[in-house]
Amino acid sequence: MKSRKEQPARSTISGSRVQTIFYSAAALISVLGLAEATYLTVVYLSGETAVCGGSSDCFQVLGSSYAKIGPIPVAGLGALAYFSAFSLATFSAFGYGRARTLFGWTVTAMFLMTLWLLFVQAFLLHAFCRYCLFSAAIIFLLMGLLVARPRPEPERS
């Protein structure tokens, strides 16, 4: 009788631990993306993308009109998005329920934006920037984690 009562409790603890591990991994991956997007923002702000001299494909992508929305560089928006994903994943790892929902929405929005940017590189610019591809890989990984994440078990009465 005693062991029957303990069973759901053990399962909840184990599920919670898996969720903590999952969101911690997502936070670590987001930090990688944040570092990369910060670097690209600095490259943009220092004016390096406004001249030729580095990788020509990267210039073509980062110096194109698609690399900014108004005066704001897409890399800067990316850095903000990665920081949001990191913060939400961190709070989720500490058990904040609402942060988990917001994390899902944030990663989905980043994934959709990544699909658009990949389309731009492949079909409009005909050039791929390795930094952008690295960022796309990170977001695909986050999206993969989001899809495969363990769902909280429904509470039993």
């Binding site: 001249v51 030729c52 110096g63 920081f83 709070f91």
Partner: protein
């Protein structure tokens, strides 16, 4: 303590990102010091200089350009307009970058056209048609077609493109650029002072040149 831990982690990462970004920005700015053409820099013997505008112009704009570089293409027309508007002295130097497959050949084409007195026409045509020949597998055929459009002697143009004099001319320009510290294109000097990438922006360039003209002629 556990309650505050996520806040502490998030704030630490935010500070790290902002601090790291600021440090990287400063490092990059310090690595690219402002270039300047020294007054002792003179033309080498046998060097042909492509100049538009009067020798006694108040403002001289010297560009190190690569015909396959898109930002060079973007500033080309604004520079032409500014030259006419302010009667600038514009100097163009070849600086084809190795990352661009056809840049050197394009520079040879412009120099070959210069041998028949059509440098600036070829310069404008190459920038105008940049998107076409840059993607072409046989850019040389297009350069020959452009020479035909400019009514050049085609046989002479082809010979000149392969000649050691034309290739030497491009090398001389490149050596001059490298000696000054040019690494990227376009690198633009206004009265021997290099412009920053913001100043070179086609939207900002007119204001930059106007300021230089006012500085050179304070009374007008």
């Amino acid at each position: 303590m556990r309650r505050y831990l996520p806040f502490i982690i998030v704030i630490c990462v935010a500070l790290l990102a902002v601090g790291g970004g600021a440090f990287l920005y400063r490092t990059k700015r310090a690595a690219n010091p402002a270039l300047k053409i020294s007054k002792t820099e003179t033309e080498r013997p046998g060097e042909i200089v492509h100049v538009l505008g009067p020798a006694d112009a108040a403002v001289t704009l010297e560009e190190f350009g690569d015909f396959q570089c898109p930002p060079c293409g973007k500033v080309s027309e604004p520079i032409n307009q500014l030259q006419k508007q302010y009667n600038l002295r514009v100097i163009y130097r070849e600086f084809p970058l190795p990352i661009h497959a056809h840049a050197k050949e394009a520079a040879y084409a412009a120099e070959a056209a210069a041998r028949q007195g059509r440098f600036w026409q070829m310069h404008d045509l190459l920038y105008r048609e940049q998107a076409v020949w840059s993607q072409s597998l046989d850019a040389r055929a297009l350069f020959n077609a452009y020479a035909g459009m400019l009514q050049l002697d085609l046989d002479r143009f082809k010979r000149d493109m392969d000649s050691s004099e034309v290739q030497r001319q491009v090398e001389l320009d490149q050596h001059r650029g490298t000696a000054i510290g040019v690494k990227n294109t376009p690198t633009i000097f206004v009265n021997n002072e290099a412009l920053t990438s913001e100043q070179m922006n086609p939207a900002q360039l007119p204001a930059t040149v106007e300021a230089a003209v006012k500085k050179a002629k304070p009374s007008s």
